[in-house]
């Protein structure tokens, strides 16, 4: 429940996000949940453009603009510095896009996760390098159009959550702008946990996904309801839990509102459905496995 006067927005109007930007919504919700005592590290991504175009800042909290591949260690470093100075009540959050997480920053992210540094890593995933003009990243789903994959990407989207779970960090979760309360709850949960926390937030992009700008939130909802982007969390790399039971709508509902999937034929859509079902079953197995283990 939203509580009057206890939560405030730490993002300002007037930023330069495209109309209907999913990243802007996600940033706003994340900062709302974290509160004023927060330091952000933002690396090149849509988020960095939204946060500041020098000399203007859209954030009401201190933010450090790092280099592309160092979101994680920069945040970890700041967190250490705060610890040394005895300021344990300040949260450090690293905000990166999918390029800075899945591709360029993966090595350093892995390093901090391995050492279980104390900070929150938020990946705002819009499934391509949108900021530089829609080039594919390893977060781009199979068959999605980008300017570097004009016939659709051939590789499947990297499963970043499994990578992070494999590091056995204390908390990793997916969240969606279609479910703002769930998103903010997860951010607050992460805030209360010691160690490396990873949040994977799908932020639909009207520009790069080739869809109408009013549909970003509906696309986020559909991604969850079609099980393409299920909402779940993983504790310590082993305890899985689904936080929102999706309806299991046909993936076509999600694909048809996006121009980047316009070239798909019925057979490809069916294969997308099969792949989605496989992924879901594999996730569901994890969940039931740990429920069984918990019962033993």
């Amino acid at each position: 429940m939203y509580k009057e006067n206890t939560v405030e927005d730490l993002m300002r109007s007037g930023h330069f996000a495209c109309p209907g930007c999913g990243v802007a919504i996600a940033m706003r919700l994340v900062l709302r949940a974290l509160g004023r005592k927060t330091i952000a590290v933002i690396i090149p991504s849509c988020a960095s453009i939204i946060a500041a175009t020098h000399p203007h800042s859209a954030l009401e909290i201190p933010a450090f603009h790092g280099t592309f591949e160092t979101a994680a260690p920069t945040a970890a470093g700041i967190s250490y510095a705060l610890k040394i100075r005895g300021k344990s009540d300040i949260t450090v959050v690293a905000i990166a896009g999918d390029g800075g997480t899945f591709d360029i920053g993966l090595q350093s992210l892995s390093g901090t996760a391995d050492r279980n540094e104390h900070y929150i890593y938020v990946c705002l995933d819009n499934e391509a390098y949108m900021n530089t003009g829609i080039q594919a990243s390893s977060a781009t789903p199979r068959r999605a159009w980008t300017i570097t994959t004009p016939a659709g990407r051939s590789a499947r989207k990297k499963n970043i959550m499994e990578i992070m779970a494999a590091h056995r960090i204390p908390y990793a979760a997916t969240a969606s702008i279609g479910y703002p309360q769930d998103l903010m709850d997860k951010v607050q949960k992460a805030k209360g946990i010691e160690g490396t926390k990873f949040l994977h937030i799908l932020t639909p992009c009207a520009t790069g996904w080739r869809m109408a700008e009013n549909l970003t939130v509906n696309a986020a909802i559909l991604s969850v309801e079609t099980r393409i982007f299920p909402l779940y969390e993983v504790f310590d790399g082993k305890k899985y839990g689904i936080t929102y039971e999706p309806q299991g709508l046909p993936v076509e509902e999600y694909l048809k509102i996006q121009g980047r999937y316009r070239h798909l034929d019925a057979g490809q859509i069916e294969r997308m459905q099969t792949e989605t079902d496989e992924e879901w079953e594999s996730l569901y197995r994890h969940v039931t496995d740990c429920q069984r283990k918990g019962a033993l």
């Binding site: 939203y2 109007s13 007037g14 109309p19 930007c21 203007h56 279609g178 939130v217 909802i221």
Partner: protein
Amino acid sequence: MTTQENLRAADYETIIPVSRANTKVFKTGQWSQKKPTHHPKLSPCREACPVGNNIPGALAHVSKGDYNAALALILQENPLPGICGRVCYHPCQTSCNRNQFDETVEIRSLERAIADYGCATPQICSSPTDNKTTIAVIGSGPAGLSAAYFLALFGHRVTIFESRAEPGGVLRYGIPEYRLPGEVLNREIGRILALGIDLEKGVRIDSERLDDLQDRFEYIFLGTGAWLPQKTGLSSENRETIQYGLDFLSHEKKEIFCQGKKNIVVIGGGDVAVDVARTARRLCGPGTVITMIAPEKEGDFPAIPEGLAEAEDERIRIIGEYQPIEFIGNSHLEKVRFVRTKVEKDRVTGRYTLLPGDGNDLLVDADLVLIAIGQLPDTGLFLPEIVDKDFSKVFVNDLGMTPSSRFYAGGDLTRKRPAVADAILSGKRAALSIHLKANGYDPEIIIPALTLGQGSSLSISAYIEAGLIDLKKVVQFAELNTLLYRKTGAEHGTKSPPETRRTDFSEVNGGLERKAAIDEAKRCFYCGSCIGCDLCFLLCPDISIAKEGDRIYRVDKDYCKGCSICATVCPRHVIEMEESQ
């Protein structure tokens, strides 16, 4: 000292630029002329509700468990919620947008739950400066009670004249106890009379008294109902073993007609016929064969389908598409002959005509026939200029006024749809007309403005809180963002088992439990009503919607880029995009 320590803050910024200015200097709202506006609209259920109940508003209160607030809201429009929640033909449920998603919200059961579990007093809706006048209400049925209730809320002095021993009219003497228990009726009438309305019981108005009333009161509301039975017109009809619907139901010793009867035939397919058949079942016991025969096709009977289904559960045989042609028997009735018939509805006038159908005659054994094919008003005592002799009714215009300007009328006397909810509407309309006229306003302008959507119902709360809700825009299913809803079945109340019902007049429908009613209210889409879900506020990428209180949002046009996410996401279609300049 190192060189680094000598650097002052300003010098740092030559190495690491720091953004200190606020992005609010950029009026990004100039990127688009499209801006959202929050404007509550009408839900299809409320448009269909003859009483004009604010259904989404009340259900939003119930979903939070606040029955008192829900009842207070309902009482703004409906003086008899506990009665409507039991006996209404619920057109709201037919038009519910949820029908196109899974199944309708059980609005009628919820209205009953609100009336039974809630506690509230009606809100006075007049200002002390309003003119007060005096009104005589003749008849204490739903139309008269409704007129008296709203007139009293407007601050006028009302006296109700009732010819019978107790008030309620058809509610008390027509609708049986198993559908509408007496304590519910007394509770609801008590709440109305507590507004300071005088009730004179056992006073039958004749023409002499009517003259007297004209001297004592400024206005007179006629709500005497329709109590004369419509007859079949067959020559063999005049026997003791033939009784008529309301006469039978209101008879103090109706059991004497039923004693020892083996085969009872009920003629008619309306709610009165169903009540007659079910009352006969309870008086005769399970051994008697009761057959209900109507000219309409089975499944097309004018009666409420739930009532018919309950009648079938009580082993009442239902046969459609026959009409009586002859009552056979000498001193005692033995059989009734029916001919095959079909009903055709005139597309223009909406009137039904009976045409001969194909098929053989039907001969039914009968030692008692109960005819319930309609009621006619007794218009004999009224001024001739207000009576339509051809259709035996009182003329009223769209304001509830008869051709004589001091007389208003409503309910079955005007022969509109003979339902409780429509009678309440006619009383409400007349009350508002009288109030407006007494205060020098023109009802012909104001009443159409308070009419809900394309329908005929009228909202008193819209009169008090003008402009809060767009009464002409009805939210369609396609306009809702149903992505955020889940398909769930409706909660249904319990029913007493048919075996016990055959001898017992206690209420058949148990209604919804408190908890079940809350769950059911949560199924409501709240079409067109803001319930403060905050999605528009939380999901604005430009932080240009400010929350200024419960369900109060303000759009900052300086920064809104017109992306329309708020309007698209709103599950209730409260927000619309408009071009601004």
